[in-house]
C-alpha cells in the first residue's frame, strides 16, 4: 500500500523483535536427528538378523515346495466362478459405499474449517486413525465369528469400517483446502452450520469425495481375495479350504523354519 504517511505498523508495539535468520531451524534439525537415528537402528537391526546368502539359497527348496503344492490349481466351475466374482464385487461395492457415507460426518468433524468444536475434531481424527490402523482382515475375522459362515456381511462391515480411515482422511484434507468464500456467503445470509456445509463446502469437494471412494474401491477389490481367504464369502474363500488342511504350505510361504 502506498500512502504518504508513516506506515501504521511503526506505531504498533511488536510483541517480539523478528528472530535473526538461522541456517538450521530447530524443526529441521530434529527431523534430521530422527532420520539418522532410524538409519542407525535399521543397520543394527539388519546385523542382528540371521541373514546370510547360504540361508537364502537354502530356502530355494522351500519355494519349490510351495509351487509344487500349488499344482494343480483347481478353479471352481464357470458358474460358481461367476457367482463368486459377483459376490466379491457386491461386497466390495457395498463396503466402499458404506465407508464413503460414514466418511462424510467423520471428515466434517475432522476438518479444521468445518468442525463444530476442537474436541470433536480430535474425535473425528481419532476415528480416522483407528479405522485405518486396524486391518480389514482382522475386522473380517472378528466379524466372521458373529455371522454365519460364508455370509457376506463380515466382508462388507470389514471393508466399510477399514476404508473410513483413508476416505475420511483424504476427504477432510479436501474440505480444508476448499474455498471458504461460498461457505461464509451462506453464513452471511443467515444459513445454519449444516446449510453452510451442504450448500457451500460439499459441492466443492464432491469430485474429490467420489475420486477417493473410487480409488478405495480399487484397493478393496484387489484386497478382496485375501478377505475371502479369511472366510467372509468372497472369491478367496475356496482357496482357504485346501490350504487350511495343509498348514505346512503357509508356513513354508512365510519362510519360517519348522
Amino acid at each position: 500500500m502506498t500512502t504518504l504517511e508513516a506506515p501504521p505498523a511503526t506505531d504498533l508495539p511488536r510483541a517480539e523483535a523478528p528472530a535473526p535468520p538461522r541456517l538450521i531451524r530447530p524443526s529441521r534439525l530434529a527431523a534430521l536427528l530422527v532420520l539418522v537415528a532410524m538409519l542407525a537402528f535399521s543397520i543394527y537391526a539388519l546385523s542382528t538378523l540371521d541373514f546370510t546368502w547360504s540361508n537364502v539359497l537354502g530356502s530355494v527348496a522351500n519355494a519349490v515346495k510351495v509351487f509344487q503344492e500349488m499344482d494343480p490349481i483347481s478353479l471352481p466351475g464357470p458358474a460358481d466362478l461367476a457367482y463368486l466374482i459377483g459376490l466379491t464385487l457386491g461386497i466390495v461395492i457395498l463396503g466402499t459405499v458404506v465407508a464413503a457415507l460414514i466418511s462424510v460426518p467423520v471428515a466434517w468433524l475432522a476438518a479444521e474449517n468445518t468442525t463444530p468444536a476442537a474436541g470433536l475434531r480430535w474425535l473425528g481424527r481419532a476415528v480416522g486413525v483407528v479405522t485405518r490402523a486396524v486391518p480389514d482382515v482382522v475386522l473380517a475375522l472378528a466379524f466372521s465369528l458373529t455371522f454365519a459362515l460364508g455370509s457376506p456381511l463380515p466382508g462388507i462391515f470389514a471393508i466399510g469400517i477399514h476404508s473410513v480411515g483413508m476416505i475420511s482422511k483424504l476427504f477432510a484434507d479436501a474440505i480444508e483446502h476448499s474455498d471458504d468464500g461460498p461457505r461464509l456467503a451462506i453464513r452471511a445470509a443467515g444459513g445454519s452450520r449444516s446449510q453452510e456445509f451442504w450448500g457451500g463446502v460439499f459441492p466443492q469437494v464432491l469430485p474429490s469425495w467420489i475420486a477417493t471412494a473410487l480409488h478405495r474401491f480399487d484397493i478393496n477389490l484387489r484386497g478382496s481375495a485375501i478377505l475371502g481367504y479369511a472366510g467372509v464369502g468372497a472369491s478367496g474363500t475356496p482357496c482357504a479350504s485346501p490350504s487350511s488342511t495343509s498348514p505346512r504350505a503357509t508356513a513354508a510361504a512365510s519362510g519360517s523354519r519348522p
Binding site: M1, T2, T3, L4, P8, L12, P13, A15, G181, P182, L184, A185, I186, R187, A188, A189, G190, G191, S192, S194, Q195, F197, W198, G199, G200, F202, P203, Q204, L206, P207
Partner: protein, 278 residues
C-alpha cells in the same frame, strides 16, 4: 434522500474493533437512514470490510454498540443473529459463488435461511422458491444462464448472480464489499448501475464499500470515508467535487492520492492473476 426524517435503520456508536494488538476500527459513529445509499470509501486495510461485517452480525465489537433493523447486534443470541443476517444481504469482491453449481442453485442458496435443514440440488428447493429465483435472474438479466455452471460466467455476470442470490433473502439492507474491485470498467459500471436501480425500486438501504473515488462520486447519496479505522469524512454526495473528497479523505494532494490508489489497484490485479495461476 439524505436528511429525511425517517428512523435510522443502522445506528453505530463508538464502535471499536481490535484484532489482537491491531485496531481495525476506532470509535466509529455512523447512522444510516432507511432507503439511503451510502458509499464507504477507504484504502485497503482502512476497515471497510470489518465495518460491513459488524453490520451483518459477523463480528462482535470490542467496544461500542450497533443497532441494525431495531436489534442491538452485540447482545443477540446465535439464533437471533442468523435471523438478522437473513434480513441483511451481502455481496463480495470475489462473488463467492460455488463454481461447480448451476447459476440457479447458487441463487437459491440465498433462501437457505428460510428453509430448515440443508439442500443439495435445485430440485430439493420448493417450487415457489425456484420460480422466485428465476424471477431474480431475469431481473439481473441472466435468465438464460440459469442452468449453466456459475464458473463459466464472466466476473460481471457472476456478480450479478450474487446480487440475485442476495435478493432471494428479501433483504432490507444490502451490504456490498468492494463489489466491482475485480471487474473491468464496463462490468463495474453495469454492476454499480444495477445495484442503484434495485435499491431505488425496492427501497433498499445500501452500504457499499469502494476504493475508487470516481465510482463513488456520481453514485451514492452520501460518502463516508474511512482511514485507519476512523471515520474521516461523512457528507452528502450532492455537489461534492473530487478534490474535496481527496483532501478530507487522504489529506494529500489529489494526484498523489490517486496515484496511490492506482498502484494499489495494479497490485491487486497482479495478485488476482497470480492467484488464478496458482
Amino acid at each position: 434522500m439524505n436528511g429525511t426524517a425517517t428512523a435510522p435503520i443502522v445506528t453505530i456508536s463508538g464502535l471499536t474493533k481490535r484484532f489482537g494488538s491491531n485496531r481495525a476500527l476506532h470509535d466509529v459513529d455512523l447512522t444510516v437512514a432507511r432507503g439511503e445509499v451510502v458509499v464507504l470509501l477507504g484504502l485497503s486495510g482502512s476497515g471497510k470490510s470489518t465495518l460491513l461485517r459488524h453490520i451483518d452480525g459477523l463480528e462482535s465489537p470490542s467496544e461500542g454498540s450497533l443497532d441494525v433493523l431495531g436489534e442491538r447486534v452485540e447482545t443477540l443470541s446465535q439464533k437471533s443473529l442468523r435471523s438478522l443476517r437473513s434480513r441483511v444481504a451481502m455481496i463480495f469482491q470475489q462473488f463467492e459463488l460455488v463454481p461447480s453449481l448451476t447459476v440457479l442453485e447458487n441463487v437459491l442458496t440465498g433462501a437457505l435461511s428460510r428453509l430448515s435443514g440443508p439442500r443439495l440440488g435445485v430440485w430439493t428447493y420448493p417450487r415457489a422458491l425456484r420460480r422466485q429465483a428465476l424471477g431474480h435472474l431475469d431481473r439481473v438479466g441472466l435468465l438464460e444462464k440459469a442452468y449453466e455452471r456459475s464458473e463459466l460466467l464472466s466476473g460481471g455476470q457472476q456478480q450479478r448472480v450474487a446480487i440475485a442470490r442476495a435478493l432471494m433473502q428479501e433483504p432490507q439492507i444490502l451490504l456490498a464489499d468492494e463489489p466491482v474491485a475485480s471487474l473491468d470498467p464496463e462490468s463495474s459500471e453495469q454492476v454499480m448501475r444495477l445495484i442503484r436501480e434495485i435499491a431505488a425500486d425496492d427501497g433498499l438501504t445500501v452500504i457499499c464499500s469502494l476504493h475508487q473515488v470516481d465510482l463513488a462520486l456520481g453514485w451514492g447519496d452520501r460518502i463516508v470515508g474511512l482511514r485507519h479505522g476512523e471515520v474521516v469524512l461523512d457528507t452528502p454526495t450532492d455537489g461534492l467535487t473530487k478534490s474535496q473528497v481527496m483532501e478530507v479523505y487522504g489529506r494529500v494532494t489529489p494526484t498523489a492520492e490517486l496515484r496511490a490508489i492506482e498502484t494499489e489497484l495494479a497490485t491487486e490485479s497482479l495478485l488476482l492473476t497470480r492467484g488464478a495461476e496458482a
